[in-house]
């Protein structure tokens, strides 16, 4: 069993994270990963140049670790990997990598899905979109909370 939960201040490299997860999971039968990318437009359709992710000096990493540990305990997975950007992320660049490995695919799919639902609502970040229209704080939607709550 391995759990990686990391805050990344520089460019996130999903190919490196996936390679590391595959390397750890050589004895498993399934590796699932999700990559979240900064969108180029806001919900209202305005162009977004970059996403800025503020974080807490201690609680943010703790929240990433808590979420990753919870996924590892909840599903029959052998490896969990969460890497989350902080700071300024240009549109089109990756924000988050969430991956899991297991003997059979269902547990890894479920763990990756769970990781993202928890990260959207419980990871300690404050996001704002920055573009020509100015700066806009982004909070989870009721849909995001409902997605998290379906896990009980």
């Amino acid at each position: 069993m391995s759990i990686v939960a990391r805050l990344e201040e520089r460019a996130l490299q999903p190919d490196h994270e996936l390679a590391a997860l595959l390397d750890q999971a050589k004895d498993e039968g399934a590796v699932v990963n999700f990559v979240g990318v900064a969108r180029p437009t806001s919900k209202s359709g305005d162009p977004v140049d970059q996403l800025v992710l503020d974080h807490h000096p201690r609680l943010t990493v703790q929240s990433l670790q808590d979420i990753a540990v919870s996924a590892a305990e909840r599903f029959d997975v052998s490896h969990v990997r969460v890497v989350h950007r902080c700071g300024k992320v240009a549109s089109g660049e990756p924000i988050v990598f969430a991956g899991a490995a297991s003997a059979h695919r269902r547990a890894a799919f479920d763990a990756a899905d769970y990781l993202m639902d928890r990260l959207k609502t419980d990871a300690i970040f404050w996001k704002r979109e920055v573009g020509e229209a100015g700066s806009q704080w982004i909070e989870p939607t009721e849909g995001d909370y409902a997605d998290r709550d379906r896990w009980g």
Binding site: G36, L53, D54, H56, R58, L59, Q62, S63, H84, I95, V96, M116, L119, K120, T121, D122, A123, I124, F125, W126, K127, W137, I138, E139, P140, D144
Partner: protein
């Protein structure tokens, strides 16, 4: 007492303020004092998803400030 803010709250109030708060006050009373001084932040500060932390531990409205040097207010969070 030092009060730290994050996210949209920090945008409105700055990352930290100093407040004169009696030791027997609760988090709820501290919120009221902050709202009285900064009426524009009532919606954010009273949002049920805005949480208070003392020493990196989540505390609730009835928590007394007697042992707190610093209180942190975290508005709703969002990763991913």
């Amino acid at each position: 007492m030092r009060i730290l803010f994050y996210g949209a709250l920090a945008d409105r109030l700055g990352p930290q303020v100093e407040v004169d708060a009696p030791e027997d006050w609760t988090i709820a009373q501290l919120r009221e004092k902050l709202i009285a001084a900064h009426p524009g932040v009532e919606r954010m500060l009273c949002n049920q998803r805005t949480r208070a932390f003392v020493g990196d531990t989540l505390v609730f409205d009835d928590y007394r400030l007697s042992n707190a040097n610093t209180v942190e207010f975290l508005p709703p969070v969002s990763g991913g």
